[in-house]
Symmetry: none
Subunit: 404 residues, 2 copies
């Protein structure tokens, strides 16, 4: 059987005042999710472990069977993927900032006045090649960016240049071991070259003449090596694909070798066309054996503290299931869950377990016909994220017996 | 207190159509199991881990406290035990086939026409001694058999001779390291000697004259060393025994040092005398502190896809409890569970968790008075197989405090 894994990002929630003390999932009108629950089983899953607050990166890695305690190499590589850069195992990635330095080279604003526009133009000019090493530079939100090195002989064994405070000079870039020598040299060279390039960039010329802080220096920190992950398809002897509007998730999916079926025009925002994603997933399942779909709106509404918007986005998800997933549900394994909780009351990720729904032809039914975080405790499943792939594969009759 | 662990093999099930969508355990009339449930607690147990499909071997090892990821050395040794051979740590065991080769030595049927009868006579003649190494050879079902080497200097570091396809010659038997040299030599010698012996065996003479494919060659594969398991009685400071009609389970029990109390005449089949087993268990508990009883019929009915037979076998188990276990239940720890699920709808082992029942004098009661896979989710226990011995020992006041 084929497997459809739908991850509503940040799905889990807590009681929310303007929803009468219900969670957004409890409050939502969700006839299709409830049907799936009634026909299958629900329960609770700790994305990582109880009390561990997952990121979308660590939980997606864990769900796909890549132990984050082994493979998660820090925020640098994963935030870099979040900018949309397609990375490869062995790349060295740093979190970077556009910053403002004065003529003496002292940082007067680590965030370049929280610059909002035009960083894309600046970033493009910083894709350089220094001594055979490729520099990939990509803007993120506001002053944030990713700095990636790709090439022979590079290493994370260098110091950061970000002093984490204004009115200081960027810190010296020095190797912390023999291995880091080349990288330190390249990063020093990059700082100098990028300073020259940024100084003359039209955006900065304009900001200077308007008396606005220039984005004229690059600070970086938190370097990590992009992990070389065993290929998903080989690991599980199947062909896998994904659909995701958000760069961090698609970056991880690409890194493990899942094929991209994301249709044109869908996004990671709350007004995305969820039905288009589900329809594409059903279509993709004709070609591959496993499809992961990430819908991000639940997480965004949660971060916004908007429980009502979260409830409405869940209703949009539910409606989108109707003419897509519901029509093929008797032929596949359907799993619906979240990658973590982003309660609207908390506006942040929390470690609350996520509700999970599992339905496949002939499965046990736990008799719980409503799918939410609270009913989930009466359901059948108590899983940890690291169990998920094994449970999905065995549900799909794709697992081998361990023993005789 | 003493401990009785009853394992109904393959007990766990899924909804079954001819049982009105109930599982065999749900549908069964089981007043005694329900009484035990009402007087104690029930719940769910993952025999290995969620999503891992257990074999009877890996789950029995895990339940007895032997981590299969450490001690399970492959199908060779455990299938060999399944033929009824009593093995020792250090033996090298292979899965073997009776096959048919033509005069040129080419395999014309890897399964010797799926020979069904007479292999016992053939196997007996293949118990040889070559260069001081004992060869134990025992028939299994149909063309299957076990080939075991016992002696000094043997090793698994040799190639298989089974080419896994017809119209090929048996593969060369060669050592894969220096350590495997002696074993490769012995296996080559065994192939030659067994060929001469089988050629002249009355059964093959008869088959030849009837134009039926002879069982004249031995192919083997999947060698593994029988693990040396720490003795159960020493590990837990108690005397343990077992009752099992099925060779694989009794092989494992013998290997860990449990004493055999299996009465004459009971079997691993569906028409076995379950009451005789339980009566023998109650009797054995006068002598030892721990008794494992395996009843196999549930698994057999599951593999047969016969949910109704499975339900009836469960009713037979329940009835057999009445004048045996029920009478001593206030003096002992009683645990009733399965080693894995073999849903009649799946006809195979699945990874579904198994229901478990635990009752001892003075224990917590969870108020769930019906014992089945679905009600189990409302019960008290959520265990993994590796927890079982600890739970049983502490229930019996046989565990030591960890700390002060």
């Amino acid at each position: 059987m084929k497997i459809l894994l739908i991850i509503a990002d940040g799905l889990g929630d807590r009681p929310f005042d303007s929803l009468g003390g219900k969670t957004s999932l409890e409050a939502a009108d969700k006839p299709n999710l409830n049907t799936l629950a009634r026909e299958g089983m629900i329960g609770l899953m700790d994305p990582i472990r109880p009390g561990i607050i997952p990121g979308s990166d660590t939980s997606h890695l864990n769900y796909l069977g890549y132990d984050p305690f082994k493979y998660y190499t820090g925020r640098g590589p994963f935030e870099a993927m979040g900018t949309g850069l397609t990375l490869r195992g062995g790349d060295i990635a740093f979190r970077a900032n556009f910053a403002t330095v004065n003529e003496q080279g002292t940082i007067i604003d680590r965030r370049a006045g929280r610059i909002r526009e035009g960083t894309s133009e600046l970033a493009k000019q910083l894709n350089l090649k220094i001594e055979g090493v490729e520099i990939l530079f990509k803007e993120g939100t506001e002053h944030r960016a990713a700095l990636v090195l790709r090439g022979e002989g590079i290493s994370t064994e260098v110091t950061d240049n970000d002093p984490h405070a204004d009115n200081l000079k960027p810190k010296d870039i020095v190797p912390t071991s023999e291995k880091g020598k080349k990288t330190a040299h390249i990063l020093n060279e990059f700082y100098k070259q990028s300073f020259r390039i940024l100084k003359d960039a039209p955006l900065n010329v304009k900001r200077r003449s308007n008396g606005i802080k220039e984005a004229n220096a690059i600070l970086y920190r938190g370097g990590g090596e992009v992990p070389s992950l065993p290929n998903f398809n080989e690991k599980y002897s199947l062909d896998g694909g994904f659909i995701a509007g958000v760069a961090l998730v698609s970056g991880i999916c690409k890194l493990v070798g899942l094929k991209n079926f994301t249709p044109e025009g869908v996004t990671g925002s709350i007004d995305t066309d969820v039905k288009k994603k589900f329809a594409a997933a059903v279509e993709a399942l004709k070609e591959v054996d496993f499809v992961l779909v990430n819908v991000k709106g639940t997480d965004i509404a949660g971060h916004d503290g908007n429980g009502v918007a979260k409830k409405e986005f869940i209703e949009k998800i539910d409606a989108a299931l109707k003419d897509t997933v519901m029509k093929v549900r008797n032929e596949i394994v359907v799993c619906f869950t979240g990658d973590h909780s982003t309660p609207a009351s908390a506006k942040e990720h929390t470690s609350d377990p996520v509700p999970i729904l599992l339905r496949y032809p002939g499965c046990r039914k736990d008799g719980v016909g409503e799918f939410d975080e609270i009913r989930a405790k009466d359901g059948y499943l108590r899983l940890q994220g690291s169990d998920l792939m094994n449970v999905l594969l065995s549900s799909a009759n794709r697992a081998e017996k361990y023993g005789a």
